[in-house]
């Protein structure tokens, strides 16, 4: 864990150095590409403004994440129970993925208004599919031997689902949540781009319109930092949730 943190720090330093080198070597003006120093200055100068807008985006992302995980989890369980749901919902889910979320966001804003609700809705839509498909996949991949055993034990279908399939699928559910943690901020920002008066996405559009590229980069940096932290927290939570499941990396391969 600690070494991974150091690795992250190292790669961040390398990226910053590369960035600064490009600025120096090409001599692009700051209103096209500001250097890391300029962005840091913009971040400090506008900290109150950025913090306020970041707060809005964070709330949207967290509510969207919780709702999306809950609705996605319930949908996956429902798909397991009901053949009717499988026949009706599965094709619909794939079809819904064929529609770009960018195309849906204006409609959602039209229906749900310019406030926080439409952003939460976009976020939920964004993470619904990865959560449902990973969790549903996990629910279907229970060790057939365990299911045989449950059958000889006279288990009811419901208790087999909740006591065997569900816990066995928690590692897969964790993977879905980890994906969701990365997608959720994208959803919120898309929602804000379409129409908002608050949030990091709104701030980025505003800064862009006023040629404050350094402020735009500062907002972008805060969004990225939040996403990384959110992903790390969700990863730890997911590992706790299924701490019996062994993870191996490819180093032995």
């Amino acid at each position: 864990m600690k070494s991974r943190f150091i690795d992250g720090l190292l790669s961040a330093c390398a990226a910053l150095a590369l960035w600064q080198a490009i600025v120096w070597l090409t001599g692009v003006p700051p209103f096209i590409l500001p250097g890391p120093g300029g962005v840091l200055r913009a971040l400090i100068d506008n900290r109150a403004l950025i913090a306020e807008n970041a707060g809005t985006t964070i709330i949207e992302v967290l509510i969207g994440l919780v709702l999306g995980a809950a609705i996605g989890g319930a949908t996956a369980l429902h798909l397991m129970i009901s053949p009717m749901a499988r026949r009706l919902l599965l094709p619909l889910m794939v079809f819904s993925q064929a529609i770009p979320i960018f195309a849906l966001a204006p409609i959602l804003t039209l229906w749900l208004g310019y406030g926080i609700i439409s952003k939460i809705a976009v976020t939920v839509l964004m993470i619904f599919f990865p959560v449902v498909s990973t969790f549903y996949d996990g629910l279907r991949r229970t060790d057939p031997g365990l299911l045989d055993l449950a059958r000889t034990m006279g288990a009811t279908p419901m208790s087999t689902l909740l006591r065997l399939r569900l816990p066995a699928a928690l590692p897969a559910f964790g993977s879905g949540l980890r994906l969701a943690a990365v997608y959720a901020p994208i959803g919120a920002v898309i929602g804000e781009w379409v129409g908002a008066s608050k949030g990091l996405g709104y701030l980025m559009l505003l800064a862009n319109g006023r040629s404050k590229v350094d402020l735009m980069f500062a907002a972008l940096f805060v969004l990225a930092a939040f996403t990384v932290i959110l992903h790390a927290v969700i990863s730890i939570a997911a590992r706790r949730m299924a701490d019996w499941s062994k993870e191996t990396d490819g180093s032995g391969v």
Partner: protein, 243 residues
């Protein structure tokens, strides 16, 4: 155990992917005894066991499986496989009481603790399977099977993956603890069959045949000359089978 263990009679045909695997088979299992099914891999030993347990076999069975007392078979069966089939997220105790939990019953805590102690897992009752050895995991699976308290025990090569010493210890433990039940043991190990069996049935492509030269009472001493002689005799019989 509250009821007398039943005998079993399985008769019928079994087809897999259009090919007959068994044709007009007749398998009698004696009540309260250990019946061992031996034979080469892929010949359908496990299929017979799964048919009795009413588990998915991927084929089609037409025939009858009736208990000697003519009561339903499936609900009186307990099953143990080569892999321990312990839930990796549950500790030993929770795995042992899994059946009760799955049926929505309150588990008999004292009984579970007693069985865990009898298989020698008392110090490990709060450990998860990942931190147990293969032998300990099969002990936990045995305790879980006994917790079910079914008169019919179906064992599908439960000791095959264990090392020689652990295997012979598990054979003794299982024989002691499953006493008084009707046991069907599938094995490909002649040594295991001659140690544990009251009756050995050779399963081959040609059908079923009874091994007649079995003498003495189980559990037979693994290193006794008579046991070893029977073992090599059974091995010779298995090698004479048509491929």
């Amino acid at each position: 155990m509250h009821e007398a263990p039943p005998g079993l009679l399985l008769q019928g045909d079994f087809h897999h992917a259009g090919q007959p695997l068994f044709d007009g088979i007749r398998l009698g299992i004696e009540a309260g005894k250990w019946t061992c099914l031996v034979g080469p891999s892929g010949v359908g030993k496990s299929t017979l066991l799964r048919l009795i347990a009413d588990l998915d076999t991927g084929g089609e069975f037409s025939g009858t499986i009736v208990a000697g007392d003519e009561r339903p078979v499936t609900a009186r069966v307990a099953y143990m496989a080569q892999t321990d089939l312990l839930a990796p997220w549950l500790d030993v105790y929770e795995n042992v009481v899994l059946g009760a939990r799955l049926r929505g019953e309150t588990p008999d805590r004292a009984r579970a603790e007693r069985l865990i102690a009898r298989v020698g897992l008392e110090p490990h009752r709060h450990k998860r399977p990942a931190s147990l050895s293969g032998g300990m995991r099969q002990r936990a699976a045995l305790a879980r099977m006994l917790m079910e308290d079914r008169p019919l025990a179906l064992l599908d090569e439960p000791f095959a993956a264990l090392d020689a010493r652990t295997r012979s210890e598990m054979q003794e433990l299982a024989h002691e603890m499953l006493g008084g039940r009707t046991v069907v043991l599938v094995t490909h190990d002649p040594a295991e069959a001659v140690r544990l069996a009251d009756e050995i049935i050779i399963v081959s492509a040609a059908g079923l045949s009874r091994y007649e030269n079995l003498e003495g009472q189980p559990i037979r001493a693994a290193e006794a000359a008579e046991t070893l002689a029977m073992q090599s005799d059974l091995l010779r019989r298995l090698r004479e089978l048509p491929q």
